[in-house]
């Protein structure tokens, strides 16, 4: 079941709707999120960083399990965290701090595995690549950086390298508002949006700018269509522009080079976008508190969800592995075991005992052991064994050997008999002779 998750910068909770039917599901309470602060952790639970008053020195991150409206785990990182992202498996969470540091936590243990200084100013977006080996971050200073996570965890290579990042793109002049990554591993493209009213397309494999698209207004959100034909850019003027990637762009139009059209509902600024490959739907969140579902083919709105009065600033489409309502009890059963044990994110690295550095909490892969019946196989095996002992060839050899033995014994017997006969004859003769002698003597 695909659900739409949306949160707002004003506390309206996290809304959750079934994309197919439009039915609203649970609403998760008390959440005021910054842009890019909402993340689904491996489809197991929801995490969201929280907006706090600027004077607060520590951050605030909440976890919700799917089945309960109340936040279950609260974490207080060392500084305010805005963007959050998790890898596809849900084993790691990264957060971007307002100082420009990136925090890397292990979900199962809550341990802060790494923290590194990534940008000069606050981190605004974080994106994992589809193979989870690359992390892309954007910052308030307009810088987009590409990190290989292997480098982050390899102390030896770090010493050899002059910098931690793989690429640092500095062409944007103002705050980065959104980053999306296309398909194709290291051959993918990255699209970034900035307050300088441009979206830029980068090649990851070559590390350079491919295209610059200038928009009539500031773009706060981008979504890329899975065929990478176009990308959609949600703008502060309320329009969603369609910009060409693979598509041919018309020679001239009202908006500017590479912009081939727009979706518009005369609404307030568009703050976030999400693309659902199932049915080619585009979801947009707006400052008027609505989530609109567009059919990109017909450019019609096919559904609207009302989230709150305040601006929606995060939309996610999450595929839940089970129908939400039916197995509620089962979910709870499993969540009680797994999720309630999930520890909060730690504030500092190395705060726990060092022993854990050498260990990892893992969920072992589910293997299916099909039970199988053995008796008929056993009969075959045993019969084979028995046959080997009594095979006809073997029996024949045995018979021959026995015959030979018999023959030999027979000969022996004959021989012995002969000896015995001789002996007897001798004895009898002796006896007879002796008697004869005695008789003769006596005579």
């Amino acid at each position: 079941m695909n659900v739409v998750i949306a949160s707002s910068s004003i506390d309206g909770g996290i809304g959750c709707w079934d994309l197919q039917t439009g039915a609203e599901q649970l609403r998760y309470k008390t959440c005021a999120s910054p842009p890019h602060g909402l993340a689904s952790i491996g489809c197991c639970f929801l995490a969201c960083s929280q907006l706090r008053d600027p004077s607060a020195t520590s951050g605030h991150v909440l976890y919700w399990s799917w089945s309960k409206p109340q936040a279950q785990v609260k974490s207080f990182p060392a500084e305010p965290i805005k963007p959050l992202a998790a890898n596809s498996e849900g084993s790691y969470i990264v957060g971007g701090g307002s100082s420009g540091d990136i925090y890397f936590w292990e979900v199962a243990s809550g341990r802060l595995l790494k923290k590194w200084h990534a940008h000069y100013r606050a981190v605004t977006c974080l994106v994992f690549s589809e193979d989870d080996s690359v992390l892309i971050s954007g910052s308030e200073d307009g810088c987009v950086r590409v990190w290989s996570l292997f480098m982050i965890f390899d102390n030896v290579r770090q010493q050899q390298a002059s910098h931690l990042y793989e690429y640092s793109f500095t062409e944007h002049t103002l705050r980065i508002t959104d980053i999306v990554m296309g398909y194709g591993g290291w051959n993918a493209i990255i699209v970034s949006a900035s307050e300088d009213r441009t979206c830029k397309v980068w090649s990851l494999s070559r590390g350079r700018l491919l295209r610059n698209v200038v928009f009539p207004s500031i773009i706060d959100a981008i979504a890329i269509d899975p065929g990478e034909h176009v990308f959609y850019a949600g703008s502060r003027d309320g329009k969603i522009y369609i910009a060409a990637l693979n598509a041919e762009s018309p020679p001239s139009n009202n908006y500017g080079l590479h912009i081939i059209g727009s979706l518009t509902d005369q609404s307030k600024p568009v703050t976030c976008l999400a693309y659902s490959a199932e049915g080619n739907l585009l979801l947009s969140g707006s400052e008027d508190g609505m989530v609109r579902v567009w059919d990109v083919k017909t450019k019609n709105i096919i559904r609207m969800f009302r989230h709150s009065k305040g601006p929606v600033n995060n939309i996610l489409i999450v595929r839940l592995p089970y129908p939400f309502t039916r197995t509620e009890s089962k979910v709870q059963a499993s969540s009680r075991r797994h999720e309630s044990l999930r520890p909060p994110l730690e504030k500092y690295a190395n705060s726990s005992d060092e022993d854990m550095d050498n260990k990892a909490i893992i969920a072992l892969p589910d293997t299916i052991d099909l039970p199988s019946y053995l008796s008929s196989q056993l009969i075959n095996d045993h019969v084979k064994q028995l046959q080997q002992q009594g095979s006809s060839a073997a029996a024949e050899m045995e018979v021959k050997r026995l015959k030979l033995d018999g023959q030999r014994s027979m000969e022996m017997f004959q021989q012995l008999k002969k000896v015995y006969d001789n002996l007897q004859e001798f004895c009898v003769n002796e006896l007879l002779d002796g008697q004869a002698m005695e008789g003769s003597k006596g005579n």
Partner: protein, 828 residues
């Protein structure tokens, strides 16, 4: 055959025919050997199933029921017979009955059967066969029982099946001690030990909590460690064992009780004198046990001591039997030989353990991945035995697949070095001359115990017996299956990592791969159904090699690159030839390869949905929930779009319907146009360029012909590179000039020329050459638009545009693109 009515009487006749009556003596030689046949008849006709009861009359049901009753009566009387052979027959057949009978019957009578079977296990005097048979039948009974949902807990039962007696979790420690003592004694056959190891690995499941798993893991690791300390005295530095110990036992925490209680360990390790033999069997069983623990499912999350397992692997892999430089050789040569002879087995198990860790940890290996990579690459340098190399290659493939691009960047140099040396070494070429002669070259599975330190001696002895040629350096040859593993790894490296920083190695790998593929296919195709005298593996090995080399070749064509695949034509030729081998895997693959390469030759970047119809067919809006929105939104949009892009309209629709065909037609049209253009303006500044082209054209054409005509690889891609950027420019230049020339086609002119451009992109070089001529264009905007419209194709790397990207075009290309942000930002 399918008549249900016959089944009861069939069963009865089976009883008469095969089951010995209780009072008659059993004739082993006749009835006993017919049992498999009896079982197969039972199973084929499902004689015990009592199924279909709803579709047949009650009379038949009754008859069938009575027949099965008789059957069971016979079995039970056999079971209670005091003749062990009769008993055996009864027990075996009862097991089959457990599998075959109806649910109802099973549920009503399984408890009786259980008692009967148990009674045969307990008395010690029973014959071995009877005991084994009873255990097996009992296992079948439990298996059947596990399928009933009300009994639940299938996993628990699975454990029960594996362990006897049944109530395992009450006597956990006893079972652990029993299994451990057997493993530690090391006296059993390898298969038995493996089964025991598996049981030990599954044992924590019977408790199913986090701690018992970790404890068992720790106990096993400590036990392995102790054995290694003893075994490796003299071949490794003392400090190593201390290091390993420190990782295993956290300082300040209590040592867990030894595996299976102390008595068994003591007796196990002191029973033998260490100089006589190494406890290899024990160590390897324990390592196998670790592997199973890491890869079998477990109900809760567990804490795995990753670091200490990795340290164990590293420790084992570092020991190669040579003496550490810092130590005095106090070990005598007999001991050393002993260790050397056992090391390959231990190394093989260490690699298995590494595989298990990678499987068990998945993405969570990340913090340890650099360490793993270092262990693997270091071992790759010293590893020489074929089986171990094959395993290493498979580890590399797992790492590449599970960890993605970042791993590819790290591993690339080592994969390339090693596969180069493996694929370049002799072996394959000699192999194919006399395929019958291949047996000795293959590593026999039993060869594991070859000495590691002294490779030349033992290998030559074994293989030098081969009377045919090549003995002198036969030990230097790389066996085919190692080459297969190397090729497979190259293929994966190309698919995963070729987009990143591959410039330095790409061309050499491409040429290595094509060379290997051509060599492997030089002498025809490996025959899978070779002849019945050869063992199966050797017959199909050559076919595997060819398949792997062709797979690597396809990957080298499809992998993103900045130049046109230089050996494409030879490769296509190979695939075409291979495709004709119908009915083989290889033929199937070649067909697939040709299909995949088609996109490389005719690139297309089609929209995901039919994007254009969205813009050009106003929607019906019937199913709309917000009709007013729709009309205000989409209608306006449509008009907007039409006014803006009316001229694209026609072309776009056309291109969408019959893309390639139109491209070709239009291209032809334009080529003619182009010629007209040139000839009509002889005084144009392009004249010199035209001349230049006429010189270039034959050269380029020659290169092409040359390439296709011969098998040599003397293509000069640089020749072809030059004209192509120009061709773009000329086409875009025409964009402005062609409409007046066409005259009649004002509206579609520009579109068509654009089509021509994209067509020329996708066509072969000849077309480019024909088109190329003028190389100065002033209309910058058009150029940049053209370029950028083709640009995503380049990014995909899957198009013929790839060959467009030589270094020279690379330089010019992005400049054009870079230019447009500038101009744009100026205007903004």
């Amino acid at each position: 055959m399918y008549d249900v009515g016959l089944k009861p009487s069939m069963l009865r006749s089976l009883i008469r025919q095969y089951l010995p009556a209780a009072n008659q003596p059993l004739d082993l030689n006749t009835s006993c050997f017919e049992l498999p046949k009896l079982v197969s008849v039972l199973q084929t006709h499902r004689l015990l199933s009592e199924l279909d009861s709803h579709s047949v009359g009650p009379k038949l049901i009754n008859a069938w029921k009575l027949a099965v009753d008789d059957w069971l009566g016979c079995l039970l009387s056999l079971l209670s017979s005091d003749m062990s052979d009769k008993c055996w027959v009864g027990i075996c057949l009862l097991g089959v009955t457990c599998q075959e009978c109806s649910n109802q019957r099973f549920l009503t009578s399984y408890s009786v059967w259980l008692d009967k079977l148990l009674s045969h296990i307990q008395p010690p005097s029973e014959s071995q066969l009877v005991k084994i048979a009873s255990c097996t039948s009992l296992s079948d009974l439990l298996t059947r029982l596990a399928r009933f949902p009300e009994e639940g807990a299938a996993s628990l039962l699975y454990t029960l099946i594996t362990f006897f007696p049944a109530s395992i979790h009450h006597s956990y420690d006893k079972v652990e001690a029993a299994i451990a003592s057997k493993i530690l004694s090391g006296k059993y056959s390898t298969i038995t030990l493996k089964k025991l190891g598996y049981c030990l690995a599954l044992l924590p499941k019977s408790k199913g909590d986090k701690d018992s798993w970790s404890l068992m893991m720790q106990k096993i690791l400590i036990s392995i460690n102790d054995h290694l300390n003893e075994a490796f005295q003299g071949v490794e530095e003392e400090a190593k064992s201390d290091d390993a110990r420190r990782l295993l036992v956290t300082p300040g925490k209590d040592l867990p009780s030894p595996l299976g209680g102390h008595t068994s360990l003591e007796s196990g390790s002191y029973n033998r004198t260490s100089s006589e033999r190494l406890p290899t069997a024990t160590i390897s069983t324990l390592m196998f046990c670790c592997c199973k623990m890491l890869t079998s499912s477990y109900p809760v999350q567990v804490t795995a001591p990753v670091r200490s397992i990795l340290a164990l692997v590293e420790r084992l892999l570092t020991v190669d039997g040579s003496l550490p430089p810092t130590m005095l050789p106090f070990m005598n040569s007999v001991q050393r030989e002993l260790i050397c002879s056992e090391l390959p087995v231990l190394h093989a198990y260490s690699l298995e353990l590494l595989i298990a860790i990678i499987k068990g940890m998945r993405r969570q290996l990340l913090p340890h991945s650099a360490y793993v990579v270092r262990v693997v690459t270091r071992y790759f340098k010293i590893c020489a035995l074929p089986e171990l190399r094959i395993k290493l290659y498979s580890i590399i493939r797992m790492l590449l697949l599970s960890m993605g691009v970042g791993m590819a960047i790290y591993l690339a140099p080592d994969v390339i070095d090693n596969s180069f040396s493996d694929l370049n070494s002799p072996g394959g070429e000699d192999f194919e001359i006399s395929p019958v002669n291949t047996g000795p070259v293959l590593p026999q599975p039993s060869n594991r115990k070859r000495k590691h330190g002294t490779k030349t001696g033992s290998v030559e002895k074994q293989e030098g017996a081969n009377p045919k040629g090549g003995e002198s350096n036969i030990h230097q040859m790389t066996p085919i299956n190692v080459k297969v593993a190397a090729l497979d790894s190259l293929e994966l490296l190309l698919t995963v990592g070729s987009a990143s920083k591959s410039d330095s190695w790409r061309s050499s790998i491409d040429s290595l791969v094509i060379r290997t593929a051509i060599n492997s296919c030089k002498r025809g195709w490996g025959n899978v159904e070779n002849n019945v005298f050869l063992p199966n593996e050797s017959a199909s090995l050559w076919a595997d090699f060819q398949l792997s080399s062709l797979r690597a070749l396809l990957a080298s064509f499809l992998a993103p690159a900045r130049v046109r695949p230089p050996y494409l034509s030879q490769g296509l030729e190979l695939f075409r030839r291979g495709k004709q081998e119908a009915g083989t895997k290889l033929g199937q693959f070649c067909g697939y390869a040709l299909f995949a390469l088609e996109v490389l030759i005719h690139p297309r970047a089609l929209p995901l949905d039919d994007f254009y119809s969205a813009y050009h067919n106003p929607t019906d809006g019937a199913s709309n929930r917000f009709p007013e929105n729709t009309y205000s939104g989409s209608q306006k949009q449509n008009t907007l779009f039409f006014s803006a892009a009316q001229r694209t309209d026609e072309g776009a629709i056309k291109s969408h319907n019959d893309d390639l065909y139109n491209k070709w037609l239009e291209n032809e049209h334009n080529a003619v146009e182009d010629m007209k253009d040139k000839t009509s303006r002889p005084n144009d500044s392009s004249l010199a360029n035209v001349l230049e082209v006429s010189e270039q054209e034959p050269a380029a054409a020659n290169a092409d012909v040359h390439m296709r005509g011969e098998d040599e690889m003397v293509v000069q891609p640089r020749r072809l590179e030059e004209p192509i950027p120009k061709s773009q420019e000329i086409v875009s230049a025409k964009v402005d000039k062609s409409p007046p020339a066409v005259g009649t086609n004002l509206e579609g002119g520009e579109i068509e020329s654009k089509k021509a451009l994209s067509a020329s992109d996708s066509l072969n070089d000849i077309d480019h050459d024909m088109l190329s001529g003028v190389n100065k264009v002033d209309d910058f905007d058009t150029v940049s638009r053209k370029t950028s419209s083709t640009l995503p194709n380049v990014e995909k790397g899957s198009s013929s545009m790839a060959h467009l990207e030589s270094e020279s075009s690379m330089d010019s290309f992005p400049n054009i693109v870079d230019a447009d942000p500038d101009t744009d930002s100026d205007s903004v």
